[in-house]
Amino acid sequence: MSSVARPLSQEPLTSGEAVPPLIAPGHTYRSVTEKISDVILSGNIPVSWFLGFAISFMLVGMLGFAATVLLMIGTGIWGINIPIGWGFAIINFVWWIGIGHAGTLISAVLLLLNQLWRTSINRFAEAMTLFAVMCAGMFPLLHTGRPWLAAYWLFPYPSTMGVWPQFRSPLIWDVFAVSTYFTVSLLFWYVGLVPDLATMRDRAKSKVSQKIYGMFAMGWRGSALHWQRYEIAYLLLAGLSTPLVVSVHSIVSFDFAVSVIPGWHTTIFPPYFVAGAVYAGFAMVFTLALPLRVMFKLQDFFTFRLLDNMAKVMLATGLFVAYGYAMEAFMGLVYSANTYESFLMKNRMTGPYGWSYWTLILTNILIPQLLWFRRVRRSVGLLFLISMSINIGMWLERFVIVVTSLHRDFMPSSWGMYYPTKWDWMTFAGTIGFFLMMMILFVRVLPAISIAEVRHLLFEEKHHDKNGAEEAAA
């Protein structure tokens, strides 16, 4: 990094200019601490926060209603049928779990790669992971129709019926993958929070807040001996989360790939699902972080350099996904000698669901190519619009995979169409509301940016500058 402390400006950088800092200049340890914790402690809540909470809370109410009706009547209220036995439930499950993956990528993989720019976004992205996995988890539970009867074939416990889960099924692997993923993400997130909870405890004014933050901070006192073990534990958790995140979406893709349905039975699924998951997750980070940045005036930490880097990762993973689509089309139309495979691909492009395939290509592949331009990567408005386009595109990807593969299989007499009902839409919108509500509550009660890590980053940048200055002097 350059030693020149260049003030952060909004105009695009021309090559040869110094790299802008990760944190706006002029910050000290204290100002960082105060700026981030005051979002919560100052008690100044923007009107937009209440508005967001109200809307998302109403959507959660709708989710409760849709789920109640579902549990009372059964999955017949959804649009699923035979042949399309997997409808919105699995589409939304895969969409949500994919969104979660960016959190782990940012917090674990980028930590191992020593990418300092991840610091201001990782806490936020990890929280996103947790809430997205919660939303994802609702769908497999709800789609059983009678979740309280589903436990014995999902989890290995000695039931009175004397039966056990079937471990040769990818659906059981999925249960273990998703529950492990949630647990490890929660541990990782909590360990990262402990030093900041101590800061909140020490800075909170009211007795109640001090007690609550103090309880969760577990008496953290920043001892050097504790930091030593803490850093090892954190690094090991990152090392464990990295293969975990790859395994989770690979196993989700096995739900499809291990079957014999044309369009599902393909070895490209695991890598292309993982890349798609990271892609979707980065898009969701943008969708949430860009408004938050303005709402709580956190531009000093969500700098343009950060946005630029994230946009580049998003572009790269988007290209992996594009490769996956191209390879699927190549295998279906050119390479495979299997009639059903080539029919599937033609049907996907020109059949009754052709609109979904071409909208997918437009929103997920073509529009994001704008990210090649630096001007676009530094425009908050355009980044937001592109991230929304990818959110829609990634949802459509799962729609295309699930619905177009199932609706016309081997035997024309069993063909059918899939029409989601209002209950499908209400449940889906309800989980979006749940996700937003959790994020909105999270930014009110916990520091959305890791204070300890930003202090550390500040320390590293200062030392870099000093070393650079010494080198220049020598």
Partner: protein, 185 residues
């Protein structure tokens, strides 16, 4: 406080704590304290500082070994669970696949390895650190709430064989701290 009372309050003292404004000053003080022969001391900082553990003379942690054991236990548990269920307790023939179809057991074994290793990392980290600990003497220092903000503290404990209230205080004052305070137990 006059020095004539020192002998009486000495047993009721946890240690002496110096406050520094920058991590570099703390680092110099920690190195000096180790060279001066102090063993029982600790530093308190708002973020981890590389090399501070060595400056204070701490040994490398056993944590990685515990995590390895946790991971191996997860492997044994995951594979054992599936073997017991699918081969011994509830063998069902599906599509002519063998009861002991080990490739199908890998994903769950893998997930449980990660799960147990992660639990081991977190539980062992807190346990070795002695957390949760609701009360600790260092919190009695009035300005200690800045240890989670922007100040850096070095505490030499009274339990150290070399500890001597006046001598240690003089030693700490030589390190140019912002303040030196007594830590009540």
């Amino acid at each position: 406080m006059s020095s004539s009372h020192t002998a009486e309050i000495k047993p009721s003292l946890y240690g002496l704590m110096a406050e520094f404004e920058s991590p570099d000053e703390l680092m110099i003080a920690a190195n000096r304290a180790r060279e001066a022969g102090y063993k029982k001391m600790d530093a308190y900082t708002p973020f981890p500082i590389e090399g501070l553990d060595e400056a204070l003379g701490f040994h490398p942690s056993r944590l990685p070994l515990i995590v390895l054991i946790g991971g191996l236990a997860g492997v044994a548990l995951g594979y054992g669970l599936q073997y017991f269920i699918s081969v011994i307790d509830y063998p069902i023939l599906v599509g002519g696949k063998p009861y002991h179809s080990w490739p199908a057991f890998i994903p769950v074994t893998y997930e449980l390895m990660i799960l147990m290793a992660s639990f081991a990392a977190v539980v062992a980290m807190f346990a070795l650190n002695g957390l949760p600990m609701p009360y600790h003497p260092v919190f009695n220092v009035e300005r200690f709430n800045l240890a989670s903000n922007d100040r850096f503290f070095l505490c030499i404990e009274a339990a150290d064989p070399q500890f001597d209230q006046d001598g240690t205080r003089k030693f700490l004052e030589q390190c140019q701290p912002a303040a030196v305070s007594e830590v009540e137990p």
